[in-house]
Symmetry: C2
Subunit: 269 residues, 2 copies
């Protein structure tokens, strides 16, 4: 539905403000940019406060289909100039559309059966964090935990990089104290990747605990002290000697894939 003039001004101002983490934390809102991301947002159960669109969006079928989805959900639509859209966008190419939506409230539920968590220990690069979240969702992880030092997962670059995974996969930002308590209460074993660890291919299904949290950290920086003290096992991905490390999203993909294969073979045996 077309928004009134005052709503239009407010939505543009709000979207610009939400570029800052503090504003997102105060407003419980975030910005999603680009066609694919906004399509997935509109298909998700998340509450969408409004869309900023440019006239160019009506020029092709995909843009018109997106507008129809928004109309069907009764999401307020505000038409702005390319320059206004760019002023609220974090990426260079918002593709004529930007949405403001509510950050869903998410907590870690005590697991009733087997559970897999991915734990981000001070992961800073937003593109990597987005890809990591997309990977965790694809590999069927129960939830992803973002510990302090990790980029705000509602940053527009993370939202875009997650390719919609953030809209359904639970990602919880929490302090080490709170997560440490959860790990203890829920009986979660924490593992991490480390060059000195057990080679990943020799981890058998019998080694995999029912409730496992896999910690990944910044390349080079290593684990933060609290986390390192709580980790009970380290594993490593065998690599050619000329290569020092893998990209963190690639390493996460391999770790989660290998653990998924090991766990499913334990269920079938």
């Amino acid at each position: 539905m077309p928004a009134s003039d005052s709503t239009a001004v407010k939505l543009l101002t709000l979207a610009r403000d939400l570029q800052r983490r503090k504003a997102r934390e105060r407003q419980y809102r975030f910005v999603a940019e680009g066609l694919r991301t906004v399509e997935m947002l509109l298909a998700s159960p998340l509450e969408v406060a409004g869309l900023l669109v440019t006239a160019s969006l009506r020029e092709d079928d995909r843009g018109r289909a997106l507008l129809a989805m928004a109309e069907a959900r009764e999401v307020p639509l505000v038409e702005v100039s390319e320059a206004e859209l760019a002023s609220a966008a974090d990426t260079e190419t918002p593709q004529g559309v930007l949405a403001v939506a509510a950050i869903p409230e998410r907590r870690l539920a005590p697991p009733s059966g087997p559970a897999r968590y991915l734990v981000l220990d001070a992961l800073q690069d937003p593109g990597n964090v987005g890809t990591v979240i997309r990977t965790a969702a694809a590999m069927g992880v129960t939830a992803t935990v973002a510990l302090p030092g990790t980029v705000d997962v509602w940053n527009a670059k993370v939202v875009r990089g997650s390719m919609g995974a953030l809209f359904h996969h639970p990602v919880v930002m929490m302090s080490w104290e709170d997560f440490g308590r959860f790990v203890e209460t829920a009986g979660v074993e924490l593992w991490a990747a480390d060059l000195a660890g057990v080679p990943l291919p020799s981890v058998s299904s019998a080694d995999c605990p029912e409730r496992l949290g896999m910690v990944v950290s910044n390349e080079g920086a290593g684990l933060s002290p609290h986390v390192a003290a709580a980790v009970t096992r380290t594993v490593h991905i065998p690599m050619a000697p000329e290569v020092e490390s893998l990209n963190v999203a690639v390493a996460t993909g391999i770790l989660l894939y290998a653990l998924r294969v090991a766990s499913s073979s334990s269920q079938s045996s």
Copy 2:
């Protein structure tokens, strides 16, 4: 060694020119940017034509160590202003250093034993291609083949994303006709990832041919027709139903890891 004034002007002009693919193809030279990348370049056997550096590089130990490495290799050093460096750089943060180096001549050698190739079928995103090459090197792939439609692998963003892997891992850009002939002559079996393929965890060591080329393509775009016609088997990475696809670098990591594990278990049995 400090360069003469005319060398200085020439190197800066050359570096700017090398931002274009055509210039790289004509000059057989490329640009490497940033501390880590230039460190790895200087540690590699590649011929380095010269370094552009800013005064700020001398301000810390790491910068001074890099300059010492360059002096030891008798690489011409040209001091430029921050603005001049930025004018020749592709990335936003060249960190005070940029190198011009020779593109190594690389061909596919006929394999004498087992071999693994990674085949990039029209992969366009330079960041992804850099990460994919780094991953291929880490997973011990024999060589990576970049088919037409793939971004020039000597693009500065690919060079940076490969984290030095391009300096030792052979990456060969070739036409489908040339690669198709190589595949036939060398007895390489081509596999690709596809949702309709065999689930990856059920691929056994007995299934893996001695010489295997794993094809990865642009998400969404699928294989190009020539390649599709030559592929003899497709495999897929099992994923949660809510997720459509993985990032191509993550998918490549999982595919190469799983094939490596399958092959090594066949060698040990």
